[in-house]
Amino acid sequence: MSRLAALLLLLLLLLPLLVLAAMGGTGSGAEALRDSLLTALPAALAATLFGTAAGIGLQVRFPGRSLAVALIALPLLLPPAIPGAALLLLAEGTGFGAGRPGTVLWHALLGAPLVAAITWAALRRIDSALFRAAAACGVPPKLAIRRILRPRLAPAMLLGAALTFALSMGESTLAVMLGAGTLPSSVLSGAARMAAWLWPLLIMAAVSLAVLFRSREPVVVAGG
């Protein structure tokens, strides 16, 4: 019974996307797609860089760690219209903040905590005994880090980057306010409908496949 409710709910969630797919696109929306990619790729890159560093650093208890966590998570907790207006104000004063640069910045700030959380979770799973064992076997520290760390860190970083990318492609509130010309703005005006549902689907399909077919335990969602 509960499963049925959950299934119906899932279908209800997906309904608007199915309708969007059935509506068909009126234009190709190529320009909006290009703008979206030009926003999402730098945002994903920045989020991964900053977020991975933070995820690694937050492993350790250092003075001010709670403040760091609060700051890093802050962009996710702000009602979206507020930073939009704030960036427009910044743009009026300094010239930077509106259009694509501002949108890239904010999408990066949204994605970075996700990357940080995912890499933090991935690193947390590493048994310190592995490093001790490597040291006992005479492995130089750098090699130990490469062999033990990289197989776990790389998928986490990729997952975080993919999620940030997907998030950025669909993020509507700030993109509309800052005038970034991304997919959501053009979907509202009627073009690019196909791209709007196709891209998240492709990304989530790619991410799911990647997560499903890894030999190790999946990184975030299904793990313990």
């Binding site: 959950a6 969007l20 702000l78 760390l149 997907a166």
Partner: protein, 377 residues
């Protein structure tokens, strides 16, 4: 998070770790905290009138607020306006901005400024009478009081206007011209956010349980499907719902709120999965009826996820307006008015609305974050 910190596989020192986290912190400070702080400051700052009418401001400071100010005030007003006229396009710009700010409080003042600038220049009678003749608005004490308040460095005007009030000359409060409209938008925004949170709270549970109890592969698949509407974005959802329902608050609510459901379902699923099936099974085996199992076992186990989900859904719903603009254009939300004010460069109004939206978000965070902590309260 307590036990996780004992593991430090990379043997990082505290300083290195702090340095690794610093770039992101600085980015957040520069890109989020500072700009938002500046926006919030603009909700109380007064920037338009003082530069335009500096001498009038100085004279008005001596006014006691009773009746009309003395003739000096009228003369300096005329002098200031003459100076603005003489200053060419920059002066016209400054007068325009001052007029708009004053008009937001007392609509009559919007035309009074330019009219007085025109009229007082051309007459030969004493300045005081000339000003009154140019526009009768200067005969009302209420307008002078509004001018004095706007000419200060900070005032509560925008904050009051955001909740639909204004301060009278005598210091009391009354409805502003847009009063009921402003309050309606604010309550719609808040109400929508609360409703969305409750709706997600209730609806997400079955899905969260399914994801938590499914095999890792299926859970990944289900999570991806649940995330799809969120990642597709509010614009796509709004356009997708538009052929299905008539334009109105319901369509806007569904488009905005249903997309936020994974924000509730996934944290709850994570909590439930982390807790494992043993406790509920044991409770059921011991004879507890299903409703009690839910109420006394599963719900507390999911506490962290529920708290996190509520915060996420509530704050996102507070700040969203795209669906409402498309599907319910006649009933704007507070966030929509914020966006419009920001687009028009009216930072006082935008800042005040930001304060009004931030307060509930802070309250929710203060109430719910302790629940999301590791230890039981």
């Amino acid at each position: 998070m307590g036990e996780a910190l004992r593991s430090n596989p990379l043997r990082l020192g505290a300083v290195t770790a702090a340095l690794l986290a610093t770039p992101l912190m600085l980015l957040v400070l520069a890109g989020a905290v500072a700009p938002v702080g500046q926006l919030l400051w603009r909700s109380v700052a007064e920037t338009e009138v003082a530069p335009a009418l500096p001498r009038t401001l100085r004279v008005l400071r001596q006014w006691d607020g009773q009746g009309l100010p003395d003739d000096m005030a009228f003369e300096t007003l005329a002098a200031d306006l003459a100076a603005l006229r003489a200053a060419g396009p920059a002066g016209a710009d400054a007068m325009d901005r001052a007029a708009r700010r004053l008009a937001a409080d007392r609509p009559a003042l919007g035309e009074a400024l330019p009219a007085t600038a025109e009229g007082a220049a051309g007459t030969r009678t004493t300045r005081a009478t000339a000003v009154l003749v140019a526009d009768p608005a200067w005969g009302e004490a209420e307008n002078w009081a509004a001018l004095r308040r706007a000419a200060g460095s900070a005032s509560s005007f925008h904050l009051l206007a955001a909740i639909g009030l204004r301060q009278t000359a005598k210091g009391g409060f009354e409805d502003s011209t847009q009063g009921p409209h402003a309050r309606a938008a604010l309550s719609r925004g808040l109400g929508m956010a609360v409703l969305a949170t409750f709706a997600c709270l209730i609806l997400a549970w079955p899905l969260a349980r399914w994801i938590a109890e499914a095999s890792p592969r299926r859970a990944t698949l289900l999570s991806a499907m649940a995330l799809l509407p969120l990642l597709a974005g509010e614009a796509a959802r709004a356009v997708g719902w538009s052929p299905l329902l008539e334009v109105g608050p319901l369509a806007a609510f569904l488009a905005a709120a249903l997309g936020l459901l994974p924000l509730m379902a996934l944290p709850v699923a994570l909590s439930l999965r982390h807790a494992g099936p043993r406790l509920p099974r044991a409770a059921a085996a011991l004879g507890l009826p299903p409703w009690q199992v839910f109420r006394r076992i599963r719900l507390p186990l999911a506490r962290r996820g529920l708290a996190a989900g509520c915060i996420l859904v509530f704050t996102q719903a507070l700040g969203t307006f795209v669906a409402a603009e498309l599907l319910a254009p006649g009933s704007p939300l507070a966030a929509g008015i914020l966006a419009a004010a920001a687009r028009a460069g009216e930072w006082g109004a935008a800042g005040a609305l930001a304060v009004c939206l931030l307060l509930p978000a802070l309250v929710a965070a203060a109430l719910l974050l302790p629940l999301a902590r590791q230890r039981t309260a």
